[in-house]
Symmetry: D3
Subunit: 307 residues, 6 copies
Amino acid sequence: MKLKEWINKRLPDIVNTLEENITGSFEVHAEDGLDLAGRNDIYEVLDYLLAALFPGCYAKDAMIKDELNLFLGDVLRHVSYRLAKHIRETFKYRCLKDKCDDCSCDQRSEEALIHLIESLPRLRALLLEDIQAAFEGDPAAKSLDEIVMSYPCIEAIATHRIAHSLYELDVPIIPRIMSERAHSKTGIDIHPGAEIGPRFFIDHGTGVVIGETCTIGRNVKLYQGVTLGALSFPLDEHGKPIKNIKRHPDIEDDVIIYANATILGGDTVIGKGAVIGANSWITRSVEPGAVFYGTSINGELRGRNNE
Amino acid sequence: MKLKEWINKRLPDIVNTLEENITGSFEVHAEDGLDLAGRNDIYEVLDYLLAALFPGCYAKDAMIKDELNLFLGDVLRHVSYRLAKHIRETFKYRCLKDKCDDCSCDQRSEEALIHLIESLPRLRALLLEDIQAAFEGDPAAKSLDEIVMSYPCIEAIATHRIAHSLYELDVPIIPRIMSERAHSKTGIDIHPGAEIGPRFFIDHGTGVVIGETCTIGRNVKLYQGVTLGALSFPLDEHGKPIKNIKRHPDIEDDVIIYANATILGGDTVIGKGAVIGANSWITRSVEPGAVFYGTSINGELRGRNNE
Amino acid sequence: MKLKEWINKRLPDIVNTLEENITGSFEVHAEDGLDLAGRNDIYEVLDYLLAALFPGCYAKDAMIKDELNLFLGDVLRHVSYRLAKHIRETFKYRCLKDKCDDCSCDQRSEEALIHLIESLPRLRALLLEDIQAAFEGDPAAKSLDEIVMSYPCIEAIATHRIAHSLYELDVPIIPRIMSERAHSKTGIDIHPGAEIGPRFFIDHGTGVVIGETCTIGRNVKLYQGVTLGALSFPLDEHGKPIKNIKRHPDIEDDVIIYANATILGGDTVIGKGAVIGANSWITRSVEPGAVFYGTSINGELRGRNNE
Amino acid sequence: MKLKEWINKRLPDIVNTLEENITGSFEVHAEDGLDLAGRNDIYEVLDYLLAALFPGCYAKDAMIKDELNLFLGDVLRHVSYRLAKHIRETFKYRCLKDKCDDCSCDQRSEEALIHLIESLPRLRALLLEDIQAAFEGDPAAKSLDEIVMSYPCIEAIATHRIAHSLYELDVPIIPRIMSERAHSKTGIDIHPGAEIGPRFFIDHGTGVVIGETCTIGRNVKLYQGVTLGALSFPLDEHGKPIKNIKRHPDIEDDVIIYANATILGGDTVIGKGAVIGANSWITRSVEPGAVFYGTSINGELRGRNNE
Amino acid sequence: MKLKEWINKRLPDIVNTLEENITGSFEVHAEDGLDLAGRNDIYEVLDYLLAALFPGCYAKDAMIKDELNLFLGDVLRHVSYRLAKHIRETFKYRCLKDKCDDCSCDQRSEEALIHLIESLPRLRALLLEDIQAAFEGDPAAKSLDEIVMSYPCIEAIATHRIAHSLYELDVPIIPRIMSERAHSKTGIDIHPGAEIGPRFFIDHGTGVVIGETCTIGRNVKLYQGVTLGALSFPLDEHGKPIKNIKRHPDIEDDVIIYANATILGGDTVIGKGAVIGANSWITRSVEPGAVFYGTSINGELRGRNNE
Amino acid sequence: MKLKEWINKRLPDIVNTLEENITGSFEVHAEDGLDLAGRNDIYEVLDYLLAALFPGCYAKDAMIKDELNLFLGDVLRHVSYRLAKHIRETFKYRCLKDKCDDCSCDQRSEEALIHLIESLPRLRALLLEDIQAAFEGDPAAKSLDEIVMSYPCIEAIATHRIAHSLYELDVPIIPRIMSERAHSKTGIDIHPGAEIGPRFFIDHGTGVVIGETCTIGRNVKLYQGVTLGALSFPLDEHGKPIKNIKRHPDIEDDVIIYANATILGGDTVIGKGAVIGANSWITRSVEPGAVFYGTSINGELRGRNNE
């Protein structure tokens, strides 16, 4: 059989070539990420954190109340060890690339881990508010349980609140891996840098994109396909995008944004209580309390305001 | 090492706090859903039901024809025990919350389970019609097998037909958990309340939303991003949405709706044989046979009809 | 207990009925696909191929460099055996349906497998270019690692480049199963037939659809929700769509297409260096270097060109 | 690294050599047993059969009474399919070796399987008698439960009663695989050919050997290290042992045999109610009711009888 | 196919019969042990306890020192929950059978569990002494590591010290399940009731039996096949053995007993420093310092003493 | 609940104490063996080696001939990596303890591994001879397959031949871990130092002990309970046994030793073709061709020789 011969004679060479490619590019720019670090393990850590917040949804097996303490203890002990290790490695990896000599990676990584775990009870309380907002905002919801068990925004927001907590402590890459995990499962793409207030609700959610420098106030509701994005971005002298500048809009309290609306630009502010119609295209600020719908092309508002 | 000390000294308190939070909120509103019931198990039940309908796609391992009877027997026996248990628990949970004294939960849950399993051969026949419609509707499809194995709408529709069967028997929450599972995997979000006729086809599908009170006739074709949603919804005297009213459109037989079209409102009817163009925005009824495309803002039709 | 009785007395009949349905339809049109072939196994093969390209992301467990050679050897040996088997079966299955007598399935399936595995080092080099393009194209990206570990387009494009390689060798169904797997996980739906040049980048990606007969040049960037689709398709004398004709647009080098733009038609060419605005609707060709945004209804361009 | 090079350059040859050795010896005398048949699977079948008899001991997980029916149904369905397959293969394998043309393997293998499963309730009843005898025979036993859960003879005897049932139906090899499995776990080596009456008890058990042509009556008790073996065996004209002749002793009802006694020979009968002392060496028959202890060298009885 | 029909038509009845047999015998004498309690789980608990004492031998995976604390914490937390549950159930089960009204099972079971876990560091220290004794007692031992990793007596003695600790606290059945587990794996059968001093060594070990009421002093060495058993046991008026009386010998400090020696009887004392030859048969006491070898038949010593 | 409190408040201290005990004893004498090295992994390596020799018996799953090459390749590749690592670690560990400065551990460990794997085809050929001898030596054996699948001596001898190969290359500890693994499963305890010729057969086997400095010729047959041991061993000036001297007997070609015979002493030679009766006790040499049975007490032969 030709295949078997090829496997025994030729395949070892391909294996060696591929190994050289992969290890060869480590020193230069390590495209494989984190020196073979095991992204799956970070996914598992995230699943455990979600299970610590909502065991009925995210724990692998059903449990009875008597076992809850054992379960939570296991989960948090493991997450603490494993996530601390990942945080430490990503800190050190950045140091290595930045040739930073005198860093405090070990200390900072422990602090980041401890801060996250200590804040879990507070995150859970915040998520209960989100759930309440969802219940009040969707006539199809029959009970709070149904929200937790079957609304994708809960996983997206819970993941975001965890990832944002790490992002604020300057943990590299891990917050983005977490947010992309939620994106993959829910179709909701929230950059961990976004600042999002309480009682946040996204209905359906597929296709929602929320950029890194967005701020979102209290009691905001979005529908599927909403983009809170960058209008365009300035290039540096080499024609590369300049990083770390405010590029995405601010959404104030009590705003509702209907399906597939696109709101762009770092100077764009959607004022408190405004309502943005479906399919809207907005690149300039909207006044508080305005009801805007229609298509805005080229940055001028052409919808109908609510006077 | 500071972390190890923190894990041994401080973490047990966080565990206890979180345990109290989780169990404390049970009596009040049980946000975790179903008393730690194990959503993953319902996902597995759904996977088994899909595997009973299409073993080649959904069974974990390949099989030969001789083992098919053993496989189906196992799957249906397990699904019957496990899903009966979940249905019973959700019925009882609702009774508990509704303080219903004299209910017939046990009986109704067994009937619901039995009705679903008995209807599987009929559901499979219906799905074969959907597959045929997909083959006829997409020039890229090379064979019927390719449809089953690689079109996301098959999983979305199969899940819907199962979930809708339970929804009609008033089973709480479980149908929504199932439909959201399909949403997560396919990007197609069909509420289990929607009534959908035979020969239904959705191409690509990402971003499709079909609301709870939709009805869809025979031989309807949708493309990605189509929303069949609510226009707005009335609030009660407390400013909360009124639940359980007709909010979503009716789509009659032989309708085609192209990508990203939005059709809203409980009074909106898309007449038999109508064609709705991509990106359309429709909040009023469309006549049978009409070919509508363009953007309808604010409820008036501004597309071109097919005269 | 009524249920237990039903399980023992009635369920065996349902099992038998379902078995007959499933095996009965094999001879006719085999809706279950590939004679109970085990789609999950093809998913696993794909995961292994991705793990051979980016072990840090796709291998189940983290690894150290010393184990990389062992890991790659295992992966490629297994993939070679298992994928060769799947390819052979799909070839034979097509022969069976086409009543082809004198085919060279065994030989062609081995060649297809060997060609794919031999090309892996080249595919990895190509993907490194895509990653570089993503880094240059997104101001939110902090490092190349972050791209690999947390940008959904990498999985979508890597899967596409694998699937396209099999598609070109005329392997049935398997390329589509692979591309749909990536669609499910990323929301990006690229038909394996599409021809895509180097330095390809899709930001966010949910809802992107790229049709079978598309061609995409070098250095092209897309955003979420972009459709490169068919305008309409001719029917044959039986009212069925005619298959295997050019239906989707050509995108030349250096084009940028913003979110939710829809570009349709096999004669539509987006010229080199053109920029297509978000939400655009395009059914005619756009000149090289044009900056087009706005809504094009009904096939005529109504956006603003860049002179 | 030298090892890696050796693995890639030299190891494939060793693999090929070993493969040739293994497949090459198939046609001749098939030393690997049953054409790569998977002994582990037969072990699992045996574990399932034991779990069907004593779920609390042998099922992998604890269970509640409500799930017992589901569990037993699964176990017996699987055992029926899988063991039927193994029996069929061993029958056919023997036919192949014996060049038997006109056999009824398929029918006989189904009958053997069905006979075994049908007899399980009877076997369980028999085993309950053995357990009762153990309880009455050992002052250290505190309860019947303790016997089931912690006396090795229960697994040895249960396995024997299953294996003997298959042996009587002339199933090749499988009974011996089962009995050796029990030997490995308990140190008690009972050939499946031995005929053993009810209320059989072996205390401690390590080192017990019971030969193929033994018969053991009702209410017999053995201690560790007892051998019921062959004295010597006649050779044929080629100097090979003649097979299938009576070689092992008969033990009548109510006999007790203390630790490490050795009783040899096909003509040796230990009469009803006899007591054989520890370390005895017996190669001639012992009268009913005799109390024999001491060392018997060279076939003549030199112990003290009980007058 | 006949088998499939039999499985669907006849097998459900066998399942029901077997279920009735198993559940029917629960109320009477519960032969299945502990109401379907899951013996395997107790095996796992034992494995975890051994892993807490010797992680390098008994933990499923190798580990590094940094993970040891995490590992031990997990193991002991789980063992505490799970073993506490098993102890509670066995206490309650005995109460149920004894119709004990006013028991303190919950309290006693927690105390037993806590006592065992608190004593683990002490048990480990004791086992290190046993290991040292083995090293000094066997010329074949090259290092202490080799003793831990490859001498069966270590598992047998470690298990005994754990089981004996529970036995002393009157925990039912579980100690015997544990000791039988070690018997199965090592061939060494030590009843959990036996009292065994420090620096205990058994070489090879297969076939060793040590009875419930044995006492063994400090620095004792046994070889394979040694029985420390009961001579005979008195029957009550119903002809049943009287339980709970001293039946097994006492072995004083510094005794060596060579292979296959049998020492029987509750009044038999082997005095300090005595040496018992292989194959000896002893039913009377041996003086301190005696060197005894030979066969003792019928209770009188016929070996050579050390004058 | 008191237990939960104890777990959270007190258990962490016990964990820390145990951790200190375990890591504290590392530097001194490392009782846990090999620095937490994972004995289970060595067990798995052994299982893989056995599976490479007899796939039908030891591979976890059944396989077909077409997959055999893939299977063997995987097994040998993994074994090579993993066993090389274990051998290297044990070499280095010994160096560390012996304070050896200038060793060649890396090189020697690779050579040992390569030597073992290269010799597998030869070991298999040798084992086929053993199997043939067993078939000729036991009238109960129906076929060669039955020997492989159900005679414990095959696993014991195969393991011995592997372990002896490593022992000869001076690999520390691992050979003993392997031989003890076989002892646990078969009751046959063969020290890896023993030199054993071809066509070796042990019937039943429980309790057999073969010492480190034994030599066994060609075509030797043993029965259960046979000990080939040390008579006594000289102590050094500290009263400790002197290691590394000849202590066990030599068994020449064509010898048969019946059950429970004990043969002791480094000067004892059992001459070619001798037959040793069951329960014999031998501490002096036996002439070639002698038939010896009876009990030899105190070193003088009192059996009947065959003149």
